[in-house]
Amino acid sequence: MATAPNSELRRRAASSASALAKESDYRLVTRIVHRDEDAFGAIYDRYSRVVYSVVLHVVRDAAVAEDVLHDIFLNLWRSPQQFDGARGKLAPWLAVVARNRAIDWLRKQHPQEDLSEVQLVADEDLAGEVERKSAIDRVRTVLNALPEKQRVALELAFFRGLTHADIAAQEGVPLGTIKTRIRTALLSIRRALER
């Protein structure tokens, strides 16, 4: 008999979690501004996988990736207003923040970046989960088709955090060549997003 109230509580909790899962990012972030822990949990459930994947891909160490993931979300809890919903969607914003935080760790720098500096255009392709998966597939296809030298330059600069001078020295080519390779590769990604 004592299980009935527990079952009711579980049912209510599940119902509440289900309602939160349907809330928009904007609504959830607004609730976080008002110190709503459940909304924060919902945002974590929605995007921790994205953030962790990016960080892990950069730092390649699960324990470090967990620490960086923890710091990023704690920062979001402390300063949710740094995410400007009018200037982009939460998933791509968190992806760039995750990459930058991970690079900070690689370079052994104390993070100094103001999160509000990361501003994106409001790209609908990266907003919803379905649209995002489709856009990511297109970008992966483009990455695989890039000339090897462009792909390597982009990979080293973005996911390994090397400066263009480091890459130029490593590849034995002039600085300008590396700049052009990175820019050209990135424009290919842009074209893939615009398709």
Binding site: Y52, G88, R99, V121, T180, L186, L193
Partner: protein
């Protein structure tokens, strides 16, 4: 490459934080006064976000969530279980039963009054939060609408891009007008404009093929001399160019000063 002293290559490296300190500072300083470079930087960041999202997906272990939420809860403010108010409500044992009864009634009335006041305060706070949220939502909607229009203009293949330059040799202030007669919209992005006295403002004019200039809107630049004006509905006229003049803050029916900037649509 763009027409600035900052190349698109450098903007890309800046977004990746791959420039050395000197170049990073140079780009950062330039961004403070260049609307078009800031716009391109946002596009680059979006491209980089797409690149970041190609990382193979891995789920974090549940312990990160547990630790994070525990930390969040520890930082929250909770009402202490045994408040001084509750302790003060305990009657002293040396009071007589009569006085104790009266006191209990008084305490009960006091507690009810306190609870009533607390609920009123809570209701007032909730109403205030609701109003604030509604205001934020409306502001957010307006910003999103503007951003959508700006994006549509920037991506439009039929929109005309006209750079407005000073007539004098000095080339510091500059602006770019993006005009789509098809969409009925006009977007002006200006930089390095000089600040104006409180009673003055910049007025944007559409120069029609025939007839007098038509006012398209008023604006004031920010502290860095930058400004962006979106004209959501332009008159359906064939424009030959655009001009910017300094006018009284309320605007003028016709230009009253020489144009600060003027640009013509290439024929």
């Amino acid at each position: 490459m763009n027409t600035h002293q900052i190349s698109a290559d450098d903007l890309t490296l800046f977004a990746m934080r791959s420039l050395d300190t000197a170049d990073d500072s140079r780009v950062s300083e330039h961004l403070g006064s260049c609307v078009s470079c800031r716009s391109e930087l946002q596009r680059i960041c979006t491209d980089l976000a797409a690149l970041a999202l190609t990382a193979p997906e891995v789920s974090p272990p549940p312990r990160v969530r547990e630790g994070l939420l525990a930390e969040v809860r520890r930082g929250s403010i909770h009402e202490p279980a045994g408040s001084p108010r509750a302790a003060a409500a305990t009657p002293s044992r040396w009071w007589t039963a009569t006085y104790a009864g009266a006191l209990m009634l008084a305490i009960a009335a006091g507690l009810l009054w306190t609870e009533n006041a607390r609920l009123r305060f809570q209701l007032s706070s909730l109403q205030q939060a609701l109003h604030q949220e509604q205001a934020e939502h409306q502001q957010e909607q307006a910003s999103l609408e503007t951003a959508t229009h700006v994006l549509a203009m920037l991506n439009s293949r039929s929109a005309l891009h006209v750079r407005l330059m000073p007539r004098a040799a000095k080339q510091e202030p500059q602006a770019e007008a993006i005009y789509s007669r098809e969409q009925g919209r006009l977007l002006l992005m200006a930089s390095s404009l000089r600040s104006l006295p409180a009673h003055k403002a910049y007025q944007l004019w559409i120069l029609p093929m025939k007839g007098a200039p038509i006012s398209a809107g008023m604006f004031k630049p920010d502290a860095k001399g930058c400004a962006m004006l979106m004209v959501p509905r332009t008159p359906d006229v064939e424009a030959k160019g655009f001009a910017l003049t300094i006018e009284p803050e309320a605007g003028s029916p016709a230009p009253t000063s020489n144009p600060v900037l003027v640009g013509e649509i290439p024929s």
